[in-house]
Amino acid sequence: MDEIEDHTSGLSELFRLQNRDGGWGHVPGGSSWTEPTGLALLALRAWRETGFEYTAGLRWLRGLVRSDGGYAPHPSVETSSWVTCLALLLAPEDGIAAGHAIGWVMQVAPRDSNRLRLLYLWLRGSSDELAMRRLRGWSWFPETTAWVTPTALTVLALEHARKAGIPCQEDVRMRADEGRRSLLARMCPDGGWNYGAKTALGVNLAATPETTGQALLALAGATRVAQPTAAVANALLRNTRSPAAAAWLRLGLHANGLPAAGAGHIRRAARTRIIDVAMPLLWAAAAEGRNVFREAAS
């Protein structure tokens, strides 16, 4: 395990970086955000650290729920967004209104898949793009395009919710399947994933580490991973310096039963992001058989 010799030092770091309001910022000392708080709570749960700090974090997170059932990315933001899936992954913890959260996730649709957009693509004769956009993923922010990270994490959250028996009127399994197919449609020519665009003006785009790991994790068990994908994931792992990205790649490879290369020169300077503390903890727990992204699904 890079960066953290044992999980206790990582957990100590996470406790030290918790804000007084119970949440975690993106960076040490920064105001609390939903994404790092959600991932920090998942890491604490993975290591069964569900005491005072955990409940304080949950209390902070509950404060971000909005009337439509979704969660805002930051207290100052007046809109629910993709981070709702992180709350759903924590459900059914006390106070996480899973039913409303899953309702929000199921009703939100990316703008690039609306009927007008599909009609426009059909009239233009853009058959490849039409085939891709027909498959609805999830966007970072409402009324925008679907991308890999929010799609992959929401697929994981839906599977978690389904297995945990969280009630939903819509067919969660079908929607999660569609999300996975949308991920496959966004695979880069090299076999990995970037933010969600295969090409730009005819030029092939390359995969990036974090998103490749996330896509692999979301697709595990549903799709057989081809050799080019495994190769590119390991190449990215050898070259990334980000602890968070390395953790996502390891989680993705491990979930697919694939060996992971040794990581390259992981950034050992002062950690600059809370996710660089939380994600390695999540990987370390998964390596011991506790993958919180797939616990209810396995």
């Binding site: 960076v27 990315p73 970072w140 922010f141 395009t145 991308w147 933010y195 730009a200 980000s242 950034r267």
Partner: protein
Amino acid sequence: MRRRDVFVLPMAVAAGCGSRPRVKARVSITRCPNYGPAVYDKVRSILVRHGVKARGKRVVLKPNLVDFPFGKPVNTHPVVVHAAVEAFRALGAAEVLIAEGPGHRRETLDIADSAGYFQEIIGLDRMFVDLNLDEPVKVRIAHPRSTLDALYVARTAMSADLLVSLPKMKTHHWVGATLGMKNLFGTVSGGVYGWPKNILHWPGISKCIVDIVSLYPRIFTIVDGIIGMEGDGPLAGVSKPAGVLVAGHDTVAVDATCCRIMGIDPAKMDYLKLARTSAALSADNIEQIGETISAVETQFELMPKFQRLRI
């Protein structure tokens, strides 16, 4: 006298009556052939020449850090950024920060490291702010060109006494060129809108460029055109040495000047047309100091769809 003049001339006179003479925007062009030590003196001179007031101020430098470079000139060179840090400190700035929020990659500091920033700028980690992870503030767009009426931007950028746009001089495969104005996309919060900041694409990139610039009343721009990028910018193009630093308080005028240096007609650039009338963009309405455009112009190769932008 022609019949047409009977109508046009009185209108022209009426338009001139009582109107104040237009104040020309001042833009400097400084020759700078490489990223050697001379850059430091040149940047200092630029600030003095433009009468930039920084004493006691919180200055936020906003370079273009877009991706891991892999040998391509995609990012503002660290020497230019460091020269700006030193120059503003010499002017008595109370605080100088370096801040960026890349649109597609989340590992901002790793990008800065691979671009050589840590080697060049001692203490970077103490002065660097990842704008995507900064506290977001909702700002209303007073007169939007796009369909957006507000945006969440980084508090560090919004609260700066002086925001300094430090872009790389590059072509851009969606907009034509990316310069001082487009560089400010990096102040919009990725933590809110994600990676990429697709919220800015749907309403039209050109319109959003103008809207975002309108949020910042205090901007100074220095364009790193020492080695720019031509062709399929902003990432897949190739090096284009232009050997210049272009600077000014008026970001629109700076961009217009850069376009002329690159062989692009600013009056044909969508985002510049939205920002200002053709007359206002004309070279006659910009006070050019330092080198002349004709002395430094060098045609940047444009993608076929942008050949229409040629002067």
